[in-house]
Symmetry: none
Subunit: 431 residues, 2 copies
Amino acid sequence: LQNCAVAPITRPMTAALLGIGTELSRGDLINSNGTWLARELTELGYEVTAIDVVDDEPNRIVSALVRLAEAHELVICTGGLGPTTDDLTTACGSMALGAELVLDEPSVLAITERLARFGRTLNDSNRKQAYFPKGAEILPNDWGTAPGFSIMLRGTKFYFLPGVPSEMKALFERRVVPSLGLPLERTPAEVVLRTYGLPESFVNDQLDGIAALHNVIIGYRVRFPEIDVKVHARDPDRVAAEARAEAAARDIFRRLGSVIYGRGEVTLPGVLGQALLGSGLSLGVAESCTGGLTASLITAEAGASRWFRGGVVAYSNDVKSGLLQVDPRIIDTKGAVSVEVAQAMAIGVCRALAAQVGVSVTGIAGPDGGSAEKPVGTVCFGVESPAGTRSEIRRFAGDRQQIQRAAAFHALSLILSDPSLTEQRRAMFTE
Amino acid sequence: LQNCAVAPITRPMTAALLGIGTELSRGDLINSNGTWLARELTELGYEVTAIDVVDDEPNRIVSALVRLAEAHELVICTGGLGPTTDDLTTACGSMALGAELVLDEPSVLAITERLARFGRTLNDSNRKQAYFPKGAEILPNDWGTAPGFSIMLRGTKFYFLPGVPSEMKALFERRVVPSLGLPLERTPAEVVLRTYGLPESFVNDQLDGIAALHNVIIGYRVRFPEIDVKVHARDPDRVAAEARAEAAARDIFRRLGSVIYGRGEVTLPGVLGQALLGSGLSLGVAESCTGGLTASLITAEAGASRWFRGGVVAYSNDVKSGLLQVDPRIIDTKGAVSVEVAQAMAIGVCRALAAQVGVSVTGIAGPDGGSAEKPVGTVCFGVESPAGTRSEIRRFAGDRQQIQRAAAFHALSLILSDPSLTEQRRAMFTE
């Protein structure tokens, strides 16, 4: 692998992924690690030809390792590095290599320190995580107890990473990628645009022709209700690659418009927070059918306390008319799910929390509670801000969870598009 | 396979799954078919030891088929049966078998009829879907154009199904399962116990020896901060299998105690709702550091409106002293993160929402805001109920998201363990 940096690239290097664990092979857990790594490696220029899963049976793990070594130049294994007796990956790596397991003192120390921070002491199960095949390169794990490691097996570079996705991703990005020694031109120039609320097929249709026009690859990553649009351009000339990716992203921005809420490593609540901070405004939310999800998305963001005052989950009508001072007669005549109640909730939450901007959500998330006039998925929104009072009615598709998520994201986007904030929205492209 | 029904079962039959397609190996699409089939086959009593993915490269497809035939008694392949040029599965099955492809006239007719219903006529691409390896058993597809088929390859039964999940599932349930000829005793007896808040290594250590003692298999499924403990017992005598699984589950219950909140298909908010409904009590939540997540977990549950009144997300101190009527002097002297403030928040939320039971959460989710005395992860809880007022301080490990999740689950569990509710908690084992 080290030689790749100097050799001319004529064909992509082949890679394979192996997920280890009976929870995967029995179908209790989906191998999302394999798919995530496949996507990352593909973007790095590898040809991933296999994503395999094997159960916690030592002979089968060893044969999978040996088999994958024969047909690939890079293999990344995930899972089975935990402290329990069914975590056999390290032992199997050792067997495949014909090397003994040796205790790595720096790892013992790191694990002990990590446990101590949480008031726990090292036991035998944890100590097991500090053994590695002799000669392995250890990949310290700052995000969990199980370190990863890498070995050369029959001429193939193997990496072993923990199965916990957050730890696996951190180790891949911080330890594996830098050690792959990829020449710059194998890393594509990338622009990521973040959108929400559109079906993937619609986005795909809207962007028809852009890939060919700019000679870029367009990929999608769906995390309902968000879709990330990724633009990748490859070119021996890095500047040319970046210019092509940028031009394509600009075209995409023109076609998709305001559903794009940001580019790069941003989140919708984060962009919203920046816009509110920039305008010197504070936010309060009043939720009925989303039941705290909108507030929860906001407070998942560190530092939200600088612009988020709080929320009221008005799940019962009493709470709407009590804390939020919605006139009970409006609830009686228009119904709890109505633009009139939504509007009154937005005004009420501003007053109750002394917030300058308020957003409200009231709707029917289902599965029960729908009617012919207001079917499941009907959601009303209200926004109160220095720019005035607005309301809106929408209908979302999907199950209860999807309706709640779609509605919470829509509530956030409604604030972001409020006239009191739009001027503050960060420019995504320098003109 | 047909003989298994009469032969005594000494060990489960092994099965493997193969997903075929470059969209899978590149990571553009997750292999959800493999996970779904693994779960179905496991429940039918098979031991699924591999879930593999291979790209659309004929040599690699053929070698995967031959390799899986060698180590398994049943192999189900999905994908690559479509009309386009990169759909190579049938041709590869043929190659592996050394049999020629022959046109199946009944399939031509079925495809023609199906296309006609949508106003289309048969073209060469569609006709390709009516070719099968000579001797294959054809599985008519009433849910799409591509029929499936099965062959015996080196003594192993292979099924080939389309990759579209709805068609794959329909063909599996209607065509594959009936042809497997499964005896009843191959399905393991299963008990699932749901726990929260414990590290996997701790659970594993606590349950040491139970698997051997009762001759059962114990598996874990981690969805932070929850761990499902699954007990599987196999026996030709179904009653004996169930008795062993039950006895093991009872032992697990004795060892793990109150961290087990339920068994079977239940959720913590669902169990909590049942207990509150049974006690005729309503709930309100006051959240600071969890920022709406506790309310959101509750309202993810359909029907929560019968027992959940609502919540206050008191992210700023003003909201704590305003809506929740927490004495500002307590906040000043004890700090916003203190058992005193937590207790006052729980009392305040009962009053503000006219709820009989109130729970509160105030803590430091990080990454900033920690101190030597109250480091990141410190969370205080309060509970107000007919049984009195309680408070508690805890320290959680992990990143912001993990601390928030752990705290929200803990808040729910604190209510569940409240003396006003424990009598109502459903018995998990019949004595």
